[in-house]
Symmetry: C2
Subunit: 233 residues, 2 copies
């Protein structure tokens, strides 16, 4: 039973709240019984596993939680990265909010068969907030690192200023298709918009907000890919 805050495993967990430490160690933290169970189901073994009251004093575990949620269990895992692939996937460019990146990992796991492709300027998918938002999907379908130039031929970029709507565009496309989504403030940069085969918008009501949250836009886009495109999902 760990009873000292100077324990090396506790120190590691605290350190992994920082991106630099995660990058150096190639490790990340998952907090809570649901996530640790999801890791087990997906065949991930923890590098460290601390259970409150069994391996460590509960108060000490609380103090290393990055989420402040009083987790009863915290696991440390080795980061994994998928290879791009699948018939339908989503490429993110400049999606800097970790909650959005994690939520999109979860939505993509529910709606399409390829991993989330992370381009420049995206939040670290292994940050505590991203892992919590992705839930078990971070283990079941880890994201991939991707460069836009390597995407398959059929890409469609979400662009609020485009004339065509996504539903019309995707019915004319054949898999593999990659949906490109940018950050909600700046959208996709010009070079991505130019290079994408097609641009399309999600029609919104007049007088409403100019854009959706990036995770909402990506999720609706994947929903349209899943339900309006020919071919097996």
């Amino acid at each position: 039973m760990i009873t000292s805050p100077d324990n090396s495993q506790l120190k590691l967990i605290r350190k992994l709240a920082r991106k630099k430490a995660r990058d150096q160690a190639g490790l990340f933290v998952a907090e809570g019984e649901d996530l640790v169970e999801a890791a087990r189901v997906s065949g991930w073994g923890p590098e460290v596993l601390l259970r409150a009251g069994e391996d460590v004093e509960p108060a000490l575990l609380d103090r290393v939680s990055a989420l402040g949620s009083g987790s009863r269990v915290i696991g440390v895992y080795r980061e994994r990265w998928s290879e791009p692939g699948g018939q339908r996937s989503v490429y993110l460019h400049g999606v800097a909010d970790p909650g959005n990146v994690g939520t999109i990992i979860r939505s993509a796991h529910a709606l399409c068969d390829g991993p989330v492709l992370l381009g420049p300027g995206c939040a670290d998918p292994y940050s505590p907030k991203a892992v919590r938002a992705a839930m078990g999907s971070i283990f079941a379908r880890p994201p991939a690192r991707a460069r836009f130039a390597e995407l398959p031929e059929w890409t469609v970029a979400l662009d609020a200023s485009a004339v065509p709507v996504l539903a019309d565009q995707v019915t004319a496309m054949a898999p593999p298709v990659v949906l490109c989504v940018g950050g909600e403030r700046n959208g996709l940069p010009d070079e991505v918009l130019r290079a994408a085969g097609r641009r399309a918008r999600l029609p919104l009501r007049d007088g409403g907000p100019q854009s959706l949250n990036a995770a909402m836009a990506a999720t609706i886009g994947l929903w349209e890919l899943a339900h309006r495109m020919a071919g097996d999902a």
Copy 2:
């Protein structure tokens, strides 16, 4: 220029991070130039408006920020509540995450014409995290408090265990329609499921997560209402 942390306006802002204080005062805080500008555009006058370097020392404003984002401006506003209405709206029951509630307020503003209806167990839409997630939509379309029993006849409850899919259900419905969405862990309680006229699910891939994030589910549901239902949105 405010130069003391004991200033009453700074103390008010700090106090309003707590729900109890918001409920007692009927006031809430909006942080950042975008939100304060959105309030102005929607015709909301602030009770208090503090600009860093003009009204208050920047370091003091930083210290009362609930979001820790180094806001240059913070406004205090009086809470407003809409009346239920519109041809399409969403009713939330037990959606306890403030980010989800705020995001749904933004999505509903983009996709449907009625205010978000907040039932029991929902996060306070005027908490700092909810306001930030809702962005300008909190001012353009404030939420309504609602009881399930008061909803219109056409309600459809999202229920992962239902057989019909939402797309098929909504094509057969006429406005006004209210989509009912529960918390992601427990879904909707039995009394709501029993009382709702219809239940429907959002079809997800086999082998994926059992559910979507509550904000994702609500947003896709509203997307389906907007695009698959007869009648004007």
